[in-house]
Amino acid sequence: MKDEGRSVFGLRLLAPLVLLSLAVFATGCWDLREVEDLGFAVATAVDTVPLGEVRLLVQVINPRALGGGPRGGVTAGASIPAKPYRNYETVGRTVFDAMRELSLNVPKKLYFAQNREILFTEKMAQKGLGEIIDFFDRSVQIRKLAYVLVVKGKMEEVMEPPGALAASPALRIEGIMRHQHMANHYPMVSLGDFLGFLAAGGQEAYCPVIRLEKNPTQTLRPHEPAPLAPEPYLQIKIAGTALFRKDKLVGFLNEHETRGLLWTQGKVQGGHLDIPCPSGKGKVSLEILRSKARMKPEIAGDGRLRVTVKIREEANLVETGCPLDVGKVEVIKQLETLQARVIEREVTDAVRRAQEYKSDAFGFGAAFHRRYPRQWREMKDAWAEEFFPEVEVKVVADTKIRRTNLRTKPLILERKFKY
């Protein structure tokens, strides 16, 4: 026992020393990464080129130029601060090939855990994402929370819009996406969601669309000196939805139809609705507060498929453009009915368009699968081609207008204005 006591004492001294030295000298083992050696990729865009090769564009942040204080690397002769990001582009036979090809250009070791967006060009998406998406699914570094978008136009243009920017375009896209609920004119789809859509039966994938458009606020008067910082002539816009069938892009929903899609998913948690005044002239603006949706699939006696989408929605009245006494309960009731009609319209338009493309982004097939598992087995192979375009969709919207901001009657009712 004496002997053992001594060895325990020895271990007691030795063990902390060994552990401490391990903690200091062996951090990260063979995978030691110093933060200054990493190139933080913030966006990855994938394009296709003929011969089946993958063209990859990766946006890498330059942390030195992003930080405050004295800007590093000022261009000689001009006071242009260092660019806070760089875009690198390569071509490879596979995504991984292209990514490793980048190491020939990028001085730092690329690190993708901070990657905010994954962009696919329209051409790539039309060709089909099946061959390339697996890399993103499998990768440990790439987050499943990164946003997925389809680029209309050239990916390098979206990755470098003109005009001085505070941060990189990738961070700008993320900033826009963060308040998606302000309009709900595009869906917010993470890589995880997108992969889930691709895996699910009876549910097709969709994602938002990003494009560059002309910035109308740019005004250049020929005979005046240019303002200090002229407005850039192009700006990023995210709007609408790209619809997929299996892994291929088949069409787009516009902003109005996109919200129709989002209503059915219960994802509209904000945004604006305008409804016609009961009198016929002028409009009333509503701010959507929240909504819920339920899908109820039915197989009718004659074998026809019907889906009833029940939407419950709440809104605030924020703007009236006609003499309407919104202080009265009957008027509010009337507006609620009109509002329900507008929502129903948005949904039916979206369904009609998706049925044209045969892309079941609504998950009607999945709803039938849940309710009618046995019948689904016969339908599932021909669902997109035969059954989905024939589904009858009935929308029942139950809407409420909760508040009217600070006013009851609008100013217009005072009859000082000629209306």
Partner: protein, 371 residues
């Protein structure tokens, strides 16, 4: 024998939980989901019922011989030769669980964080730590596990963070292909729940033995709750199709935490890992201790301590050569049921039957603990 110290019934419960938990949330949710699809939660219930039955039998058997481990009384029950055979099966089973656990830990580390570090580094470090734990004995092991149990709150935190993303529709349709897949899915978690029969090795050191049955059942129930706390959010958030293709579903789930207004809460995998790595170490400690102590008793040694380092080296070698790749390991993990069921369910049931038929029973030594 006294050098192992005394442990309370509560400590033994947590010891049983930590003997299972770490690998229960590693590959098993995927294996179960692959078979049972969206009804995997029901598989958990079935596996729990089976685990309760197995641990009940084991605890009843253990209580018939409260001052000895299973290695010591099998020769008395079955005769010298058969008894030693049975004892060897137990020792080997404990070593098997230990070395498959070592390899799983290594694969998790190299896949998730350290792709270019050789796997032997992780296995070696973990085994050295486990050797130290085994050297210090059962009482220390149990006390550390109780401390670590406080971090079990990680499970609840993760559940709370992903709760809003769980879609009930991911669990429908219910029983799409009947009960068959659910039973098949219950085998993987069942194989781990029955590992709680490790009580057979610690009963002599328990201070309040009369609570052994109740606390063992509680351990299985706790494991069941924790298992459901992993599979329900995993399938609810990602869908059965996606979970059935994941290597480490709980790891991926922890990285799916997303609260738009609080981006600071994203990526909880680091916090999960603190808990998980600890759990894998305790599991290795528990089974290595049981194996080393069992081997010492099987050979009739006075002290099992000289065996610790040789066994550690042997386990490292076995874990390295046992499987070629993570795919190989995964396939082995999905078949553990057939290996585990004999020593943890069939054999205890047989031993109990023999003990009852031969009317063999030992009286507990210290009377003051009864009551």
């Amino acid at each position: 024998m006294r050098e192992e110290g005394k442990v309370s019934a509560f400590q033994v419960t947590l010891y049983q939980v930590s003997a299972v938990l770490a690998t229960l949330v590693l590959f098993v949710p995927t294996i179960a989901t692959m078979r049972a699809r969206q009804d995997v939660w029901l598989s958990g219930v079935l596996a729990c019922l089976f685990g309760l039955l197995a641990v009940f039998i084991a605890a009843k058997l253990a209580l018939r011989f409260p001052e000895q481990t299973v290695i010591q009384y099998t020769p008395r029950l079955l005769g010298w030769f058969l008894g030693k055979m049975a004892g060897f099966i137990y020792v080997f089973f404990f070593f098997f669980v230990a070395y498959i656990n070592q390899r799983q830990f290594g694969e998790l580390m190299t896949t998730a964080y350290y792709p270019s570090t050789p796997i032997i580094v992780f296995i070696g470090i973990l085994t050295l730590l486990a050797c130290y734990l085994v050297y210090l004995g059962l009482e220390v092991l149990c006390r550390v596990i109780v401390l670590w149990g406080a971090f079990g709150v990680t499970f609840f935190v993760l559940l709370a963070l992903v709760l809003k993303d769980i879609k009930v529709s991911n669990f429908l349709p219910f029983l799409e292909h009947g009960i068959g897949p659910v039973v098949a899915g219950a085998m993987a978690p069942g194989a781990l729940f029955i590992e709680t029969t490790i009580i057979l090795m610690v009963i002599p050191f328990m201070s309040d033995k009369n609570r052994a049955v109740r606390n063992s059942l509680a351990a299985v129930f706790m494991l069941f709750v924790l298992f459901e706390m992993v599979v329900v959010p995993a399938v609810g958030v990602m869908g059965a199709e996606s979970v059935s293709r994941l290597m480490f579903p709980y790891f991926t789930l922890s990285r799916r935490v997303h609260i738009p207004i609080l981006p600071v809460l994203e990526r909880q995998d680091a916090i999960l890992m603190v808990f998980w790595v600890g759990g894998l170490l305790w599991k290795l400690g528990v089974f290595m201790h049981a194996g080393v102590m069992g081997l010492g008793q099987w050979l009739g040694l006075k002290s099992h301590r000289p065996l610790i380092f040789p066994v550690g080296a042997l386990l490292i070698a076995l874990s390295m050569q046992g499987w070629e790749s993570v795919i190989d390991l995964f396939a082995a993990a999905s078949e553990t049921f057939y290996i585990a069921i004999f020593p943890t369910f069939v054999l205890p049931a047989l031993l109990l039957l023999v003990a009852v038929l031969r009317g063999m029973r030992d009286e507990p030594l210290n009377r003051e603990d009864e009551g």
